[in-house]
């Protein structure tokens, strides 16, 4: 009995050795994905445009540049007060895009949450969000710059798009996790939709919404720096662009980089604390 049962459970490889892998779809999927990555990476290095590249001297030169930047930072073209002001402008842009974005995202998220809205509306909102996410922020800012002029309005409007897309996803997921019982209980008392939202959904998710908004603010700070540099939106990013691309002043680039790094790390410390407190198991995607 025992011996006849034996062969049915043991799988063997072609060479007669006992196999220990299940040969499942997920194993194959992982293997093929890694192979795909390797092939694409090799292809990429063959396609690259190497115009005017002298690798070795470039590496040495970058090393020297980094040394000057990080060990001899200085301000030459503007004052401390001005530097502080420019950092303030960047932070301001980030705040505006985040706050306005979160208000709009709140309403859209109500429409995107499957437990609060009809299915076709959620699908529609999600398709729009996917489209918005696919256009890089810098393109949004540049496109708005044509219509609204190269002011802070264009920068904020452009930055709004990705903030909204990000927050709609986060908010609607938070809404979907609201206890079904709470919603049912409120509906049973004959409350209207808005009443359910303000008395059921909002109180039980408010801290999450605030945390997500802050996490987005952290991202928006570096987006605001980038928009200053690449889309002329002003602030510390623009100064960085001027220092490196216009004055070629490495010591000033170093100073500005330190300023950005300092703020970014402060924001990161805060957001890590928020995450550990409110989202212990999963990370923000």
């Amino acid at each position: 009995m025992e011996t006849t049962m034996k062969p049915t459970y043991i799988k063997r490889k072609r060479n007669g050795q006992i196999s220990i892998k299940a040969g499942s779809k997920s194993e194959r999927g992982i293997r093929w994905t890694i192979i795909l990555f390797v092939v694409l990476t090799i292809a990429a290095f063959m396609f690259f445009d190497y115009t005017g590249l002298e690798l070795w001297s470039a590496i040495i030169e970058t090393g020297q540049n980094l040394k000057v930047m990080f060990f001899q930072p200085a301000l030459n073209h503007f004052t401390w007060a001005e530097a502080l002001y420019q950092v303030g402008v960047t932070l301001g842009l980030a705040v505006l895009a985040t706050v306005i974005g979160s208000v709009i995202a709140f309403f859209l998220a109500l429409m995107a949450a499957t437990n609060l809205t009809k299915e076709w509306i959620t699908k529609f909102v999600r398709v729009i969000v996917a489209f918005i996410r696919a256009v890089p922020t810098v393109l949004w800012v540049l496109i708005f710059a044509i219509a609204a002029g190269l002011g802070s309005e264009a920068a904020v409007l452009g930055m709004l798009f990705h903030s909204i897309a990000y927050l709609v996803k986060a908010f609607s997921e938070a809404f979907e996790e609201v206890d079904k019982g709470i919603l049912e209980a409120l509906k049973a008392t004959g409350s209207g939709w808005w009443h359910v939202v303000t008395h059921g959904v909002l109180p039980s998710t408010f801290t999450y919404l605030l945390s997500w908004t802050f996490l987005r603010f952290e991202i928006n700070f570096s987006v605001a720096v980038a928009m200053g540099a690449a889309a002329g939106a002003g602030g510390i990013g623009f100064e960085l662009f001027m220092a490196s691309g216009f004055y070629f002043d490495l010591r000033e680039v170093g100073f500005i980089t330190y300023a950005i790094l300092l703020i970014a790390i402060i924001l990161e410390v805060f957001s890590t604390r928020l995450k550990n407190r409110y989202f212990p198991s999963s990370m923000s995607k």
């Binding site: 459970y9 043991i10 799988k11 050795q17 006992i18 220990i20 892998k21 299940a22 040969g23 499942s24 997920s26």
Partner: protein, 254 residues
Amino acid sequence: MALLQIAGLSKSYDNETKVLKDISFNVKAGEFVSIIGPSGAGKSTLLRCINRMVSISSGEVIFDNAQVTSMKKRALRQLRTNIGMVFQHYNLVPRLTVIENVLHGRFGYKSTLQGVLGRFTEAEKEQAFYLLRKLGIVEHAYKRCDQLSGGQQQRVGIARALIQDPKLVLCDEPIASLDPNSSKIIMDHLKSITSELGITCLVNLHQVEVAQQYSDRIIGLNHGEVVFDGLNYQLTEDKINRIYGTQVRELITV
């Protein structure tokens, strides 16, 4: 000569509160010993001192005539190879197959290179299947561990410990996360490890009845101290009360 000798063992994590205080006992080869006590009594720490998963603050642990307290890397690996361990939460690699998880128990015998290449001999694989058949889960050999029930996963954990060819198996609350049916199956298997294979077992439990039913000998731990050490029928009601404290008696029988 006892297989395991513990003398004056103390452990503190932060130099202030002692988790274990001056513990001494011996375990003979082939014994089935349960350690019981309320949670926080130091049961887990005690087991982990024996295979040095935690460092020993003071005192002696001698396993198979070798001083465990002062062991360095290579000797420590050797020690752990000879001691199997079974965990409350099974501690398997969920995405890997049952058979792979069982074979993980052989790494102690392999060089880094052999292990990294994943080379297992045919004899080792046959042994793994033999153990799975003995534990009644051979039909799941190629399933991923996260598709198994808790009781089945714990049997994989036991197979992983047994394939090490250990002299001693440490079980840290092996049935604490299982339902009564699975618990009985697991305890029966653990009992047969000692009775059939002659491997010594040291089991942390919090159910007194289970300990009385299965073990030869029971050690009671409270606040890091041994408050009882004797054969299972010597564990009387007032001895139990000394281990757990009178008031909480009703709670722990559940």
